[in-house]
Structure formats: C-alpha cells, structure tokens
C-alpha cells in the first residue's frame, strides 16, 4: 500500500468514525439521562412506572433499529454508502436536538411523552442505518488482510460515544447546580449534539464514494432489490442467520452487560452514587477502548472467530463471579460503622409527607445515606439509598468494569470485518446491518429490561443472591451463540467477499 493511500484511508477512518461516534453519543445520552427524563416526560406520581416507561422508550429505540437497518441498508446498496450515511447522521442529529427542546409533561401534557417516543424511534432508525454504512464504507476502502485493523476504529466509536456522553453529562452536572441541572441543564447534552453533527456533516460531504461500490455501480452489477436478494435467497439467508445466532446475538449481550448493565447494576442494585458511577465507568472505558484496535488487528493475523468466541466464553464463565465481587465491594454489611457519626434527620414537607434521612459513615470512608419518604396521602413510602464509596473501592470497581470491557473488545473489535466479509458488495449494507442490529438492538438492547425483571423477581422471592439473577439472560444467550459460533463458523471464512 502506498503512502498516499495510507493517508487516504486515515481520512476515511476519521470522517466515518467521527460521524458514527456522534450517532452513538446521541443515542446514549438518552439512556444515560433515563432517570431525569422519566421525571420530565412521564407522569411523576409513580416513579417506578415512569422509569419503566423510559426503559420502554429506550427499548423502542433499540427495537426499531433493525427496521432502520433494512430501510437504510436498501438505500445504501442502491444509491451508495456515502449519501445514505450522511442522511442517517442528519436524522439522528436533528432528532437528538429536538428531544432537548420538548417542553415537559407538566407544560404540554401527553404530547410530551408522545413526541419523545417519536423522536426516539427516529433515533433508532438512523442508528440502524449508520453503523452498517460506516463499517462497509471503511472495509471497502481498506487493503486486503488489514480489514480487521481498519474497521476496528469504527468499533471504538460506540464505546467512545458512550464515554463522551458520560463526560458531557458529568461536565454539565459539575458546571451547573443540582437544581439548574434538574430544571433545564439536562437538555444541554442534547443541544451539544447539533454542533457536532454539523461539523461531521461538512467533513463527510467532501468524501468520495466507496471505490468497491463505485466500481460495481459503473459496471451495472449493483442490486435492484437488495431486500429480496438478502433475505429471499436461501443461500444468503443462511449466512444472515449464522451471523445473527453465531456472532452478533452473543456479542450484543456481552456488549450491553459490560457497559450498560454494569452501569445500571452499580446505580440501582449497589446504590452507588450516580456521579461516581459515571466517572468510574468513564475511566474503565478509556482504559479498555484501545483493545478494540488490538483485537481487530489480531483478528487479521489469527482469524476473527477464535477471538470473538474466546471473549464470549470468558464472559460466560466469569460474569457471576465478577458481579459478586462488585456487589461485595460496596456491601455495607461487611463494613464497620462509625456509630458516633451516624445522624438522623426528620422533616415534614408542606404536603405533610415525612422525610427521614439517615446518614452513616464507615471506617473505610464509605458513606451511606438512606432517605425514606412517607407520603401523607398515599399510605405508602419510598426509600432512596445512596452509597458514596472510597477511592480504593472505586478502583476495585474500575478494575471489574475494565475486565468486562475487555470481553467487549474481544467480541466486538473484529465483528465489523467479520460481517462485511460475509456478504457480497451488491447486498452488503443490507445483509450485514440486519443481523448486527437484531443482535445488538434486540438481544442486547432488551438486556437491561429483562435482567432488571429477573433481579426484581428473585428479590421478591427472597433469594439471597438475587442481584446475580439478572446475569442469567446474557449467560444463556451468549452460551447458545458460543456453541453455534464454534461449530458453524469457519475461521478461514471461505465466503470472504472482500
């Protein structure tokens, strides 16, 4: 490969990765701000229902992704990669910005959650079209034998997007007072998106079409009906199914366990202070992200299959131990309380609700706050617990999250190259996008809702290690995927179309 072409591919990588990263950023700020969004856009008399409604909206954002993959994948295989993923970028950026502009439920009533839902669906559609386009575009520019390495840059974008979303939220929270953030500050991360999308659009506008697609177009060998050729043709359909059940399904659950479930587990099961969780997750993601490139590069040398399968196997075998360690790290029943520092404060609000706040400090520096609200008019109470952990525990959690991110990089680093090599140019965008987004969007995206259900169910049944039950979903899905991947996927990839 000449020097000029190396420079050229870096330009391709930068422009593609930046746009994809922004799309992930847009997609994740909604999830990261789920709790505050639930109080703004959904009826607030039942916080659990409001939170689950947001989760449902979150799920809607995931469930619609495969439809985006079909719609934009088809376009990408007919009119080209470049214009299609420029359209997805604008759709995503516009939707994100508008979510930040919607008045709250208190102001416009039912219209507020309805608009949020519609915009969230548009975000899901856009994301469904973006990733396949970017991965295909980069892979079609990359030299033979280096596709794993070059496409792994695209693979970093999801994690970097999540990292930046956490950092922007953290920065906004630090700059503003808690009251300002709650009133209007949560909208800032949504508004920031439009600036990033504008810059990325201008960069992408000046890029050339993929050379492989341009050649196919010139020769008249592009598909006229990519959907029919992808899924109506038995030969291709069997590879779509293999990609889904032998790779992306397991990859999706490992990805969401390592990043989203870990975050939700620390916040809602371990009750660790929200800002501390965002911070420690950010550090773990930062340390883990370069490994996407390492495993992408390695997959060019030893094959994609064994790296992805090893990541899945390690995740299956170690998840329960990791989460047990994480839970015990902050379990205050193992710590020694400094009794003289314990305080109890009771106050009555103007609605006659009684708020009892108990604060405890432990010898290792951990502080525990329990706020119980007895509602005067409902004969029920609500308890919120927040644990502020010490630096040592924080690093212990960073380590355990990092290990999970490492599994993510093993299964996710090589997967773009694996998918694009599986399908021919004329239907590549459509064929690779669908299994990716079903695996990630549906099997992975539904993980928080399903795992939370398992935990709640186990807790209601009085199970001692209830907090580990949420892991059965990713463990079972990844196990089935591991067996299928090991038996059916050929490491030499004899169907390599690139």
């Amino acid at each position: 490969m000449s020097r000029t072409s190396t420079k050229g591919i870096w330009k391709v990588i930068s422009a593609s990765s930046m746009g994809t990263m922004i799309e992930w950023y847009d997609f994740y700020i909604f999830g990261s701000l789920a709790v505050v969004i639930s109080t703004k856009f959904f009826p607030s008399d039942n916080p659990t229902a409001a939170f689950l409604s947001t989760l449902a909206t979150f799920a809607a954002g995931f469930v619609v992704r495969p439809f985006g993959a079909l719609f934009f994948g088809r376009l990408g295989d007919i009119i080209g990669r470049k214009y299609t993923f420029m359209a997805t970028l604008l759709l995503m950026g516009g939707s994100t910005f508008l979510i930040g502009c919607i008045p709250s439920y208190e102001t416009i009533g039912f219209l507020a959650p309805l608009l949020v839902l519609i915009l969230r669906l548009l975000q899901g559609l856009a994301l469904g079209g973006e990733y396949g386009g970017a991965a295909t575009y980069v892979a079609e520019h990359a030299p033979v034998g280096e596709k794993g390495y070059w496409t792994s840059w695209i693979q970093t974008t999801a994690t970097v997007g999540l990292f930046i979303s956490l950092m922007v939220i953290l920065a906004t929270k630090n700059i503003l007072s808690a009251e300002d953030f709650d009133t209007w500050g949560w909208r800032v991360p949504f508004w920031v998106s439009i600036v990033m999308v504008g810059v990325s659009y201008l960069i992408r506008k000046n890029m050339d079409e993929s050379p492989v697609f341009a050649k196919a177009k010139k020769e008249g060998t592009t598909s006229t009906n990519p959907l029919k050729e992808s899924f109506g043709n038995r030969y291709n359909l069997k590879f779509v199914l293999l990609a889904l059940f032998g790779a992306t399904m397991g990859q999706g659950v490992v990805w969401y366990t390592g990043q989203f479930y870990a975050m939700s587990f620390m916040k809602t099961v371990m009750n660790v202070d929200s800002s501390q969780v965002d911070g420690l997750l950010g550090i773990a993601l930062l340390i883990g992200t370069p490994f996407f490139i390492v495993f992408g590069w390695l997959s060019d040398k030893v094959g994609r299959k064994y790296i992805m399968m090893l990541g899945m196997l390690l995740a299956i075998l170690s998840y329960r131990s990791i989460y047990k360690e994480m839970y015990n790290t902050t379990n205050v029943s193992f710590k020694t309380e400094v009794v003289e520092k314990t305080t109890k404060n009771v106050e009555t609000t103007k609605n006659n609700d009684i708020i009892t706040t108990v604060s405890k400090t432990y010898t290792d520096g951990t502080s525990y706050t329990e706020k119980k609200t007895d509602f005067a008019n409902k004969k029920e109470s609500q308890t919120n617990i927040s644990v502020k952990i010490n630096s040592e525990d924080e690093w212990a959690l960073i380590f355990w999250v990092f290990i999970q991110v490492l599994f993510v990089t093993m299964v996710y680093g090589p997967i773009a190259a694996f998918l694009v090599e599986m399908f021919p140019t004329k239907i590549r965008y459509t064929s690779m996008s669908l299994p990716y987004h079903v695996g990630n969007g549906i099997f992975g995206g539904l993980l928080p809702a399903i795992s939370t259900y398992f935990v709640t169910h186990a807790k209601a049944n009085g199970k001692a290690d209830f907090y580990l039950d949420g892991l059965w979903y990713p463990i079972i899905i990844a196990s089935v995927c591991f067996v299928i991947g090991m038996v059916y996927i050929d490491n030499k990839n004899k169907t390599n179309h690139l």
Partner: protein, 74 residues
C-alpha cells in the same frame, strides 16, 4: 463435523420450540394480561418481539442445519 452440525440442528429446533413455550406461557402471557403497566410493557416486548425472533429465526437456522445447508463442501 457435518454430522454434528446436522444433529445440533435438531437441538436448535427443539430449543426454539421450548423457548416459544417458555416465552409465551411462563413469561409473556401472564405479564401481558397483568394490570400493571410495567408488566404489560415487559409482556409486549417478550410476546411480540423476542418470541417471534427466537422461534422463527432459531427454528429456521435449526432447519437449515438439519438439512445440511451448513455442511462443509469438499
């Protein structure tokens, strides 16, 4: 290896049927018929999204495996 692939194909078909039973009767339907909003959302997700995907997708994959579509051609 081809024989293992075909035998496992039967397992995937059985697994898809078992998953269908579990998803519909143990999980989805009781939740779907529940009065609670959170249960309803969960029921809809299980019944109308996850179940068809697992049943049709994994079932078809199993069928293709059984009839030798994934056999290694010499």
């Amino acid at each position: 290896m081809n024989a293992i692939k075909r035998i496992l194909g039967v397992l995937w078909v059985i697994l898809s049927i078992a998953a269908a039973y579990f998803c519909v009767f143990e999980f989805g339907l009781p939740k779907f018929l529940s009065d609670k909003q959170d249960d309803l959302v969960f029921g809809i997700i299980i019944l109308f999204i996850l179940t068809p995907l697992i049943v049709l997708g994994l079932g078809t994959f199993g069928y293709f495996s059984m009839i030798g579509e994934y056999d290694q051609k010499k």
